[in-house]
């Protein structure tokens, strides 16, 4: 009975590179598609190509089963059973049952690692938006194309959301570990490993904060020491002048140096207006 049902089942398996191994060993995807005659010779590679394109850019793969619009599936062959059969260690995969010409019957489920974390609400929203997009088209194949494209977009957003959640969890974990390491005064290497996973610049900075402060203080001490040393050296330095025998002038034994004179009896008399007032008889010969 199962075998006859399976033979009647017009199944087209279009999977991405990583999830192409649905058991029908004697037939290739193309053979099956040709046999079932759901898609034309040109349409099959088009849809397959898009799924491969999606698989290249996303870690969240799509495994799609294509049926005729009126196909009735056996009770034992449900999408939930397919998900259960899939190994939990495998990467997260979206399993889709599509009914060509009847997109409202489409089903979506997730299998693999982290499948339980995908909310049912999110899954329903994704399926609903894909169905709505498919319903906008009149042609069956175009409906299928719109459905896949919309599903791919939804999966991209789901993947981004999951990445953010994982990053937040990793950051939280690293903060906790860094706090423990800081409190205990050791385990710096451990913190470094966690922050490398976290890849958060702030966490790295925080984990090295005490070294940064220590380095800054050392630099400050060094600069202060240099400045003090320079000041001491400057103050202790002695300046000498070469003694030159100068002929006496004006009968003066020690000094005939004509220095400047400046008056400060009125505020309006600026220094510049008093420049060059040396009498001729005092000028140096």
């Amino acid at each position: 009975m199962k075998l006859s049902l399976f033979r009647w089942l017009l199944l087209l398996l279009l999977v991405s590179d990583s999830a192409r191994a649905e058991p029908l060993p004697q037939l290739t995807d193309e053979d099956r598609a040709r046999l079932q005659q759901l898609l034309s010779k040109q349409e099959h590679p088009d849809r397959s190509g898009f799924l491969e394109y999606h698989a290249e850019g996303s870690e969240l793969k799509i495994r799609m089963y294509l049926f005729d619009s009126k196909e009735n599936l056996a009770d034992t062959y449900t999408i939930e059973k397919l998900c259960e059969d899939q190994n939990a260690d495998e990467p997260l995969t979206a399993i889709v049952f599509c009914f060509l010409g009847n997109p409202e019957r489409s089903q979506l489920a997730f299998a693999g690692q982290g499948a339980a974390e995908v909310l049912a609400l999110d899954r329903r929203k994704m399926l609903k938006s894909a169905i709505i997009k498919a319903m906008e088209k009149s042609d069956h194949v175009m409906q299928l194309e719109a459905f896949i494209v919309e599903l791919s977009i939804s999966l991209f957003w789901l993947e981004s959301k999951r990445a953010e959640t994982l990053a937040a969890q990793a950051a939280e974990g690293s903060r906790e570990l860094a706090g423990k390491a800081w409190a205990s005064g050791n385990g710096v290497e451990k913190v470094e490993v966690v922050t490398a996973i976290d890849a958060s610049g702030f966490s790295v900075l925080k984990s090295h904060l005490h070294w940064i402060i220590l380095g800054f203080l050392s630099l400050l001490c060094l600069i202060t020491g240099c400045v003090f040393g320079w000041l001491i050296w400057t103050r202790s330095r002695r300046y000498h002048f070469p003694v030159v025998e100068t002929p006496e002038r004006l009968g003066a034994s020690y000094a005939a140096g004509v220095g400047a004179v400046i008056a400060f009896h009125k505020k309006l008399g600026s220094p510049s207006s008093q420049r060059n007032q040396v009498p001729d008889y005092l000028k140096r010969a």
Binding site: V244, Y254, P279
Partner: protein, 185 residues
């Protein structure tokens, strides 16, 4: 000092002058605050004072040749700088005028301590530069002619009211120095 500075200000100024003299072992800086007559010429007075003044608190190693005298006439409100022969080749009238000009605002305000501080610091800066340059030139072009010993003898005569012990010591120092000069080529 003619009451130009208070006791604390005077002490501060003395410390400043001591620092100057520590940095320049051949030189000394003196400040004269006085009230000259209207007819008196401050330049002539500075010239006369530096040649005839006997500085009792200075050692013999600092002849009046290396003296710098800041004269401030509080009567006519004029300030002047005179200097000895040792600085003849290193200080110009322009240098001293620029230094006085920087102290001019403080002189106008009657803040004589600040004015003297500015003058001493600015002069120190100029003299440090000149000294470095002179020593460098001496290294490149060789030493200048010998120092005249006549002025040193006359100085000793001027500072006659020193203690006999100090005088004897200074004499022995001088003779030692003269001998060493004779020995050296």
């Amino acid at each position: 000092m003619a009451g130009a500075l208070r006791l604390k200000e005077r002490q501060k100024l003395e410390r400043l002058l001591d620092e100057f003299q520590t940095s320049f072992p051949q030189l000394f800086f003196s400040v004269y605050y006085g009230a000259l007559e209207d007819r008196a010429n401050i330049r002539q007075f500075g010239l006369w004072l530096l040649n005839h003044a006997a500085y009792e608190d200075l050692d013999i190693g600092r002849p009046n040749d290396g003296g710098i005298l800041l004269l401030v006439d509080l009567n006519t409100k004029v300030a002047s700088i005179s200097f000895g022969y040792m600085l003849d080749s290193f200080l110009t009238e322009e240098n001293t005028f620029n230094i006085l000009a920087k102290a001019h605002p403080h002189l106008l305000q009657g803040n004589h301590l600040k004015a003297a501080s500015v003058i001493v610091k600015q002069l120190s800066r100029v003299l440090r530069r000149k000294s470095r340059r002179a020593i460098l030139q001496q290294k490149v072009f060789g030493p200048p002619s010998n120092q005249s010993s006549g002025s040193a003898n006359a100085l000793e005569r001027i500072r006659s009211n020193r203690s006999a012990k100090e005088q004897a010591k200074s004499k022995s120092d001088q003779t030692t120095r003269a001998k060493s000069e004779e020995i050296e080529p």
